[in-house]
Amino acid sequence: MKIVLSATGPGFEAAVDERFGRCPYFLYIDSETLEIEATDNPGEKASGGAGIVAAQAVADKDVKAVLTGHIGPNAHEVLSKAGIKMFTDVTGKVREAVESFKSGNLKESTGPTVAGHFGKGPRV
């Protein structure tokens, strides 16, 4: 199954980024073969509508599930419409997150987990 993770870097050892719309990288991973493709997130530096443009980008890649920390209301709306499952509160390394997903230990979210503009501003 093709899934996508919000990540702080381009490989399996990177951390899952808690922000969906504003994360720097999206990692597209085939959960069976572990084939991985990293792309920039078009929402990272968007002046507004980051969640929307990020959600559209992952929907264009035909993913079945998103693994991330939090999802805001606009991204949630777009991903729901696209029929993509959302797993939130995911933390740790990308490799571990994919393992947790495969073993069915992640929580599927049914609504936005944060208000808009959650991911804006510097992270410390």
């Binding site: 929402g43 980051a50 929307i52 443009v53 929907a59 419409k81």
Partner: protein, 284 residues
């Protein structure tokens, strides 16, 4: 003639200057005051206008005809505000992010996008004595002031004197309010913040090629840095309004300076003459 009042820093006295200038000139000229600080208009508190007309301020937002749409994605690609998302079988619009630029509708290859107006504020038009008064009020929760400001400015006289009260800062709403003016008065206070933001405002109005002059409000013993800056930049210092408890008391009761202390009226008439001289010089 269009004279705008801007500041950079907030709370320097733009509205004090705008209202007193309008009242002073209204005896001998046709004058209107346009409060373009649509996020927080306050000139009405001092001029107490009677409004006789209200208009909705709106922006055009896209409505997609799903029958015609092929989900090609062009609209979302051209939208720099990310106000549209196109999925394989659906288009989603986010009107609160739309700036009303019209690019999506214009560039849709299927002509599947129509625009409908979305209200984001109100324009109120009225009179205060012999001053014509217009202001815009952005609805609470809306982020886009410039379209409301543009709609306020549609009411500018073709003759007479139009005085525009701008918002503080140097961002889009200020540019929208100030552009097209014949002259811009920059009101500052003699503080490091005042000077810093004055310099930003000067840069902004210069890039719009509008001549400007400075008024120091709450003028006291600390004026020298502002004066040195104006000297260096060759900007005329047009007026000083002292730090004075009487002026503050009047203002706190919503009484315009020139109505509370009548000798200020002549100073504002002189100010207008200085502005006219600057504008004339600029035209040569």
């Amino acid at each position: 003639m269009i004279i705008s009042i801007a500041s950079g820093k907030g709370g320097t006295g733009k509205t004090l200057v705008a209202t007193s200038l309008a009242l002073s000139l209204s005896e001998n000229h046709r004058v209107q005051l346009l409060d373009c600080d649509v996020e927080e208009p306050n000139a009405h508190i001092f001029l107490k206008p009677i409004f006789d007309k209200r208009e909705t301020a709106s922006i055009p937002v896209p409505v997609v005809d799903e029958e015609k749409c092929t989900h090609c994605g062009e609209c979302s690609r051209v939208c720099v505000y990310n106000a549209l998302a196109v999925l394989k079988t659906a288009v989603m619009t986010f009107p609160e992010l739309c700036h009303g630029c019209g690019a999506c509708a214009y560039l849709c290859p299927e002509k599947a996008i129509n625009e409908e107006l979305r209200g984001i504020g109100v324009i109120e038009i009225g009179r205060s004595g012999s001053v014509d008064f217009v202001h815009g009020v952005l609805n609470v929760g809306e982020a886009m002031a410039p379209p409301v400001i543009r709609q306020v400015k549609k009411h500018i006289f073709s003759d007479g004197i139009s005085i525009i009260d701008a918002s503080p800062g140097t961002s889009c709403p200020v540019i929208e309010a100030v552009k097209g003016s014949d002259y811009c008065l920059l009101v500052t206070d003699p503080t490091p913040f005042g000077l810093n933001d004055l310099a930003l405002a000067v840069e902004a109005v210069r890039s719009l090629q509008i001549p400007c002059g400075v008024i120091i409000n709450r003028s006291d013993v600390n004026d020298s840095q502002i004066e040195a800056y104006c000297d260096r930049e060759n900007i005329p210092m047009l007026m000083k309004i002292p730090l004075d408890i009487e002026i503050a008391k009047l203002y706190s009761r919503g009484i315009p300076l020139v109505l509370g202390i009548s000798e200020w009226k002549d100073r504002f008439i002189d100010l207008f003459e200085d502005i006219c001289a600057c504008v004339k010089q600029e035209a040569i």
